[in-house]
Symmetry: C2
Subunit: 227 residues, 2 copies
């Protein structure tokens, strides 16, 4: 029996412009760098065969050191990302060409769990693409340039996308490299190609660290739930 | 010179279904009940002339006690809310009929500041209605009943509404009582009547406490920034 091969891209090259000078990937969470928390979860997830870690140029050596220290055997490559997030994902995709499925995850979401990854793979296998998402709790309004409300959206149908985002390799490969413009969500590219993207249940505590306050919250959640 | 009279409704009757049995209004934040934090901020805001506090039936006595203890002189009434949030706001509006402007605020947003209230009033005076809001940071998707993505929204125009929401009295009075259905956002009712609603800059740390984790985050933010 031939089993599908599953690769993971950990996109961790972000500059973290709202972090006030702190490198969020190397910031400590439960006493270990955020980046180490994320890699450890993917390494420990049975469904994952191979991991590519994409970091900023200045963190390449540090990341390699972490991986050596922890003897993470699934990490086949640490490579530098580009200026935009999509450059990092593109760099990761090139290194996973023999995989059947690709799990893309933001390095800044360190509270991901093996369960979340595995459920993403299961959902993706239904139609080729799946995205972790949670129901939106805020009231969302669309405003014009003068900040006058044009519309309040029906909350029942709104979802906030997270990562993991999981794709059949050939589908996500078609989406890359994207046409011009900055892309913050891989699924959007796949949607544009006309593929069906399935949402599956993410977690409210699968937060993305973008500010120093988020890092504090992540620490609180980490201590509370462990990982 | 006649100055406009400004009333505030603190809508604090919510049951907090996701709080795991903790009464979020009486939970402590920096050693004082959440409800006390909110009232203290409105009491201390120079722009506010009168405050009506709407709480659950079982918290009426406790709220009155808090107000007596703190000698908050602007609170003219503590009244019980109804089953839905809109019942609470309607109850509050009845008691502010001699006001020119009404500031509606969720009791579960204890990190509100006097500055946020005052900027809301200023914005409302431009066109009659203003809502605190922050740019949406998540990627928002619209999905169908099968959780298949139908659309990814252009993030640049999306805002997450908060409170304070500020209205000219006659405008919000026309919106109440709303037709059937549950209403979680007062501005939506005003928009439906065709009035222009202006968004003004809220604050990411003006969080709404809906889960026990939110309460932990609020405590962290409170210690960090004070109020």
């Amino acid at each position: 029996m031939v089993t599908d091969k599953v690769g993971a891209i950990i996109a961790a090259a972000g500059r973290g412009e709202r972090m006030g000078g702190v490198d969020k990937m190397l910031a400590l969470l439960g006493g270990k760098p955020v980046l180490a928390r994320v890699i450890a979860t993917f390494e420990g997830c049975k469904a994952i065969d191979q991991i590519v870690v994409v970091v900023s140029q200045e963190n390449v050596e540090q990341a390699k050191k972490l991986i050596d220290e922890h003897k993470w055997s699934k990490v086949t490559e640490v490579c530098p990302g580009g200026e935009l997030r999509q450059d990092s994902v593109a760099a990761g995709l090139k290194r996973l060409e023999d995989c059947d499925w690709v799990v893309i995850h933001d390095g800044a979401r360190p509270l991901v769990t093996a369960d979340l990854i595995e459920r993403g793979l299961k959902a993706a296998k239904e139609g080729g693409a799946a995205v972790a998402a949670v129901p939106v709790v805020d009231t969302i309004k669309i405003a014009d340039d003068n900040q006058i409300v044009r519309q309040t959206l029906m909350r029942d149908w709104l979802w906030a996308a997270q990562t993991p985002q999981v794709f059949r390799f050939d589908i996500i490969a078609k989406a890359y490299p994207p046409a011009e413009g900055e892309v913050t969500d891989d699924a959007t590219l796949v949607e544009r190609l006309g593929y069906q993207v399935k949402l599956y249940s993410g977690a409210y505590d699968n937060i993305k660290i973008t500010t120093p306050d988020d890092l504090i919250l992540a620490e609180v959640l980490y201590r509370k739930y462990g990982r």
